[in-house]
């Protein structure tokens, strides 16, 4: 088995474990490359079926092409898609001008909580990766969130030998991270190998491309001439910039992501 085979086998095992263990399970789909790989892995794990819904927390500030792409793919692949927006916050005028962390909390974290409550999810599958940023590098594969959606990262249970946390009090839920062990280049090499359909925002146009996708006001492009996956991989092998450098919320404060994630951010 080569490196990508190993990563794939591990992720499929985790997805199957989540499906076996949680009655109410949903998968977050952000339309980006990571959660699209996750969708592909789910197809493999469940033989083309997808026995749980996909969830998109729509902040209404997403890059417009993302929404177009989302609706097109959902239709083509017959995905059971839940789109949720924190309408109350939007109606009271929430936006990045209120402060990026405040906005992320309201439109993403709170929006996600509303979906979890509405559908009573016990398990949420997310495409976060350890190499993205510091607080994610400390994640467990099955990571508990309490009733208030908080993450007690100072007291995480041991996780060994693929024996994950599957026992928890009612009202809590488990975040499942099937691609935690992948890195950015793994993702691209896998997309290339598997020929996975992907939104074209990642490819350079007029000398710039998106490396990470998010809300339009807070997501920047990078300088790049990479128009193919091969070129992107080559570019990443030589870059010294971090993947999320274009994500404004991360730069708000030295501990921005840790603070956001402690309160339930994805």
């Amino acid at each position: 088995m080569n490196h990508l085979d190993e990563l794939e086998a591990e992720s499929i095992y985790i997805l199957r474990e989540a499906y076996k263990k949680f009655g109410k399970l949903g998968m977050l789909w952000s339309i980006g490359k990571d959660s699209t790989v996750l969708m592909w892995l789910a197809k493999k794990a469940f033989y083309g079926y997808c026995p749980f819904p996909f969830i998109h927390v729509d902040t209404t500030y997403k890059i417009p092409q993302m929404i177009e792409y989302r609706d097109k793919i959902a239709k083509e692949l017959h995905i059971d898609l839940i789109v949720h927006t924190n309408e109350e916050a939007i109606n009271t005028g929430m936006g990045p001008e209120h402060g990026r962390l405040v906005c992320c909390k309201a439109l993403k974290t709170d929006g996600l909580q509303q979906v979890v409550e509405k559908y009573e999810f016990e398990g949420l599958i997310l495409g976060v990766r350890r190499d993205e940023e510091g607080s994610r590098s400390k994640e467990r594969v099955f990571s508990e969130r309490n009733k208030d959606y908080e993450w007690d990262y100072t007291n995480q249970p041991p996780e060994l030998w693929n024996q994950f946390k599957t026992d928890f009090p009612k009202g809590n839920h488990i975040r499942v991270h099937p691609i935690l062990h992948w890195n950015e280049i793994d993702i691209w090499e896998y997309i290339l190998r598997e020929n996975i359909p992907l939104i074209d925002l990642y490819f350079a146009r007029d000398g710039r491309r998106y490396r990470s996708l998010g809300c339009a006001p807070c997501t920047g492009t990078i300088e790049s001439n990479a128009t193919t996956i091969e070129e992107i991989i080559e570019e990443l092998k030589h870059t010294k910039t971090s993947e999320r450098a274009g994500r404004a919320q991360d730069q708000e404060d030295a501990y921005a992501m840790q603070k956001l994630r402690k309160d339930g951010y994805m």
Partner: protein, 573 residues
Amino acid sequence: MGENRETVKIVVVGHVDHGKSTVIGRLLYDTNSLPEGAIDRVKRISKEKGKPFEYAYLLDAFEEEQKQGITIDTTQLQFFTAKRDYVIIDAPGHKEFLKNMISGAASAEAALLIIDANEGIKEQSKRHGYILSLLGIQKVYVIVNKMDLLAYSEEKFIQIKGEFNEFLNTLQVTPLDYIPISAFYGENIAKKSEEMPWYKGKPILEAIDDIPKDKELSGKPLRFPIQDVYKFDARRIIVGRIEAGILKEGDEIHITPGNKTTRVKTVEFWANKDTGTVVSAGQSVGITVEDEFFNKRGEIISHLEAVPVVSNRFRANVFWMGKNDLVTKKKYKIKLATAEVEAEIKSILKVIDASTLSGDEKSQKVRINDVAEIIVETKEPVAFDEFKDSKATGRFVIVDGYDVAGGGIISRAEEAVLTKGFLKEGLFLNSKIFEEYYYSVLDNSIKNVQTNLNIYHVGDIIPVSGATFKYPDSFDIIGISDGVVVLIRDKAVKDILRLSEYSYSYLPLVNARGFGIKVSSQEEYNRLIKERGGTDEKELGKDVSFSNHWFSLNQYKVIQFNEDSVYEIEYNI
């Protein structure tokens, strides 16, 4: 970094403040693996906090860690050398966070054990050494750090080496080498130190390239623990990961502990490009088999010539990470490969002080951070191996309440003590028909208790009535999930057979828990069997609508009041 390159996972362990994070920070810096701005960012934060710059801050992503200068949780980082890719696992050295250290170490195949040359060997140096040996990690480099504080003294290095070797030898661990370094000044990290010309070995970055990769497990006997059974369409796909060995279409396979033999019909794939007829160790796969008898999560598929052990007792070495002590006469859950079973600790043979290796043979409890030798008894028989024969099926975790609180490796299988049920040759029905149901006034809840722990064979007389149950003299017990039927005629066991060999007798039917089955015609029986096969088998028997439709709780059972908490009775064997 690259599809066909090898990846090796290395855990870095050692006593608190001996410099693990600094070593890793250096490794990342010297291999050019840090993102642009990371050093500047850490310098900025250090300045903000009024502290001198440290490489360790590159790793300690969490606010608390930087405040206290200790690693709370495990961090995983990647870097690469010309030869291959590495995942470095930074495990905390503080005693309080031993569970995090174990989580990190459990997934590694090699280790760097860091010792501070100035402080020498400390409690956690030894404890971590012991835990590495328990986890079966044999490829260890001992890194003697902070040599700069001792003017790079060879004498001091030799002294530490001798002392620690003595300890490791008692664990049958022979380190690959001892490397003297100064992480702070980068001595013997990426290139050979000029400060220590007496050291003839390699610097860390070259030494780790010598770590032999774990051998492929595909050459070992087949171990395929069933993870789940899918029925999304006409196919009934058994899925799971092959932990060892190779499996081919057409292979004759054996399923334990259910003791069934069948043949692989197909290997299933979703993507066309993955199509094949052979699967091997490490892969997450799906197969269909010729005889569609009931098989379930927790069973292990093997070839007939090398089957796993089936028993409900084994001897194990455990490390305990729970807040509450590990004790006897308490119910725990054991997770072993994909099996999950209720268990209790039959005896605590020895509690070992991991830093001195001295054993206490009288202790009746295992405290947090202790290591112990115990005998585990599971409620149902499980399939497993001794750890030395098969790692993945020879280790388990202990769940106490909601959390994994301990981990263990099986050192020896003990003879099974089967309790309660019906046995004929390879067929065993774990029956609960003699369970008594009480309403405990003390706890305001219903409890089920089984005091009849006999094994009944063909010809044995059974008690058809008890305090809270009364069965007819002749009836059939249908073990729906086990696929085993027991025929009771005139209060005696007439026969025990597979569900597939059974034909409906028009006698009353009872399930394995002693609940009446609402079937009174051949047609109804056929429907029961059909629905049983069609309920996705995900949580069969726990499926509420299936149970409500087919089972009657009170046809043969009543619930009586009982003023005591009846929990204890279960252990009156």
